[in-house]
Symmetry: C2
Subunit: 347 residues, 2 copies
């Protein structure tokens, strides 16, 4: 019989303060755990910045921190949310996403296995979208001074030829088009957080990149696309309010035309939440002349057949700027900006 040594103490099972200290443990974390998931271009290990090439003229630049809780949910986790979310912010500028940075704030004690899962997802999301995660940063904070993991991604994109996106370009006569069902992400997070099960069926976050849809419509319609806006925190209603304010216009939304998945609709009714205010992570609104509405819907459907794009509203002149919602019976209500949010920390 052979005597085996006991297994060495596996102190790498959890994040420790040393993983953020700038020494050997951090170097090891970056080299062994983080970098393998970013093969293309690669997070640079040996430098605090990276030199990028091939971009010219007008560039888009954006940043977002992700603090969603829980970090894992049906349809995704904080990792693909962080990659897709910043891709989408670039796309909403009318840009082709090119490079992302990625900065982690890890809480001491966070499970290494969870971190690995998040990294795998980020690598896949970046590869699927054809963007390069090129530079990063890792910090560790004491137990009780964070919440497992926060991720910041900043992004640089190249403006698409012909793109002229801006809320001030939205004008009377524009249609409001959205690329699919609303409230999936927010309701999924809420159900997950509160451990709610709805008989109406399974919900799933809609986190996904939107740059292909954007490229298709800009390629086809160029500067006729006046504005693009992803419907994250605050949902469709907040986007319409922001645009109404920025462009000094009045927007009318037809409630019955806004697609909502059945389980999401059921959950909203049960909880008394308005799906128009609930966050999405793979849905956006397009503002373009009314006569293009049908064609844009057709194009969006062609790029993403699983979606249900629709013309849901229109823009008119008039003071003061406001958003009105008409239901199927013709009754009207004002959709105002919320004071806070229905659901905190959904992204």
């Amino acid at each position: 019989m052979e005597l085996n040594c006991p297994l060495p103490f596996e102190d790498d099972e959890r994040i420790t303060m040393a993983h953020g200290g700038g020494g050997r443990r951090m170097e090891q974390l970056i080299r062994e755990v983080i970098l393998p998931h970013f093969p293309t271009g690669g997070l640079k290990n040996d430098h605090d910045g990276v030199v990028i090439n091939g971009l010219t003229g007008e560039l888009a630049f954006t940043t977002d921190s992700y603090v969603v809780t829980p970090q894992f949910f049906p349809g995704g986790n904080i990792g693909d949310l962080a990659v897709n979310g910043t891709i989408n912010d670039l796309a909403m500028c009318g840009a082709r996403p090119a490079y992302l940075s990625c900065a982690f704030i890890l809480e001491e004690g966070f499970a290494m296995e969870s971190f690995r899962q998040i990294l795998v997802t980020m690598g896949k999301a970046a590869a699927a979208a054809g963007v390069n995660l090129v530079t990063g940063d890792t910090k560790v904070v004491d137990s009780g001074k964070g919440d497992g993991i926060f991720i910041n991604t900043a992004g640089i994109g190249q403006l698409l030829p012909g793109a002229r996106i801006g809320p001030e370009r939205v004008a009377a006569g524009d249609a409001v088009i959205i690329n699919g069902t609303v409230a999936d992400h927010g309701m999924t997070i809420m159900a997950e957080r509160e451990h709610l099960n709805f008989e109406s069926g399974r919900m799933e976050s809609d986190t996904r990149p939107l740059h292909r849809e954007v490229a298709a419509i800009i390629d086809e319609f160029g500067a006729q696309i006046h504005c693009l806006r992803d419907m994250t925190r605050g949902g469709l209603a907040s986007v319409l309010n922001e645009i109404a304010q920025s462009a000094n216009v009045q927007v009318t939304l037809e409630d019955s035309k806004v697609p909502v998945n059945d389980p999401v609709q059921g959950a909203c009714e049960l909880l008394g939440l308005d799906p128009l205010y609930v966050a999405n992570e793979g849905k956006f609104a397009i503002f373009a002349p009314e006569e293009l509405g049908t064609e844009i819907v057709k194009l969006l459907k062609a790029v993403s057949p699983e979606n249900t794009p629709a013309v849901v509203g229109k823009v008119a002149a008039g003071e003061p700027p406001r958003v009105e919602c008409i239901n199927e019976f013709g009754s009207r209500r004002i959709l105002d900006l919320l004071s806070g949010d229905q659901l905190p920390r959904i992204c």
Copy 2:
């Protein structure tokens, strides 16, 4: 006698979850509290990204999150640290810093007045360095799930003409030059955190931007400057170790030539810390052919007369890669990478 109404409850004294909710309170926080401090270019309020212009060819891209505790310390706060730190990461790529993004993760209950002070400092630091804070993000996490404020800044810079910076370019015959005293930042943070007072005098963080020194030496010496590295987490010793590994060389450091301020030296001795491993936030190491050493020191002194630049070491061929330190009596010791860090959360 006039009857006065009681003062209205000032609920804006502290950060609330609603400030991160995407609704009216968040819009107000961004418009009234954040934007006034970023006058040039301005953090864009009405869009999640910004279009930037005028950059071509090779760009530098970097990101860093700042989690320093305490947030306020002699010589600065987390705000100028976040601006200067990312400026310095760009400068270390051989780039002129141009645009910064800025993302806040605020803890519910964080004092609005502290946030304002940090914003004032960030605005001043950006203006002083001639960079534009152009896009941002604000998230709020529940009380007990953060630590007051974390800041991420990502940056884009334009590579300076003639710059060819890379650790792999460091070669036998290079000198190691640093631009001034070491360990000021780390020891200041430690003293502040532990409420230590040293009789040896007042210490102060050295947080400041380094791009002017970098521009001056690249302008003068171009590609003869082989590598630049700011000496943050892990200090000078860690930088030298990283370079030795990347370039596969041996580095010899002359201990007595490394300038250390008296109070810092005193504090280090009292606490048994090695200043070579303590973090800096306004100091960097330059690797360039030995014959340029004196000229580089002279130029650094001309740009920043308050500093005490010095040639402190040299690079030689040899295996394995390592860093050796010679003291004034000629005795030698190996400077290894630390496993973790002497001081956590110093930036």
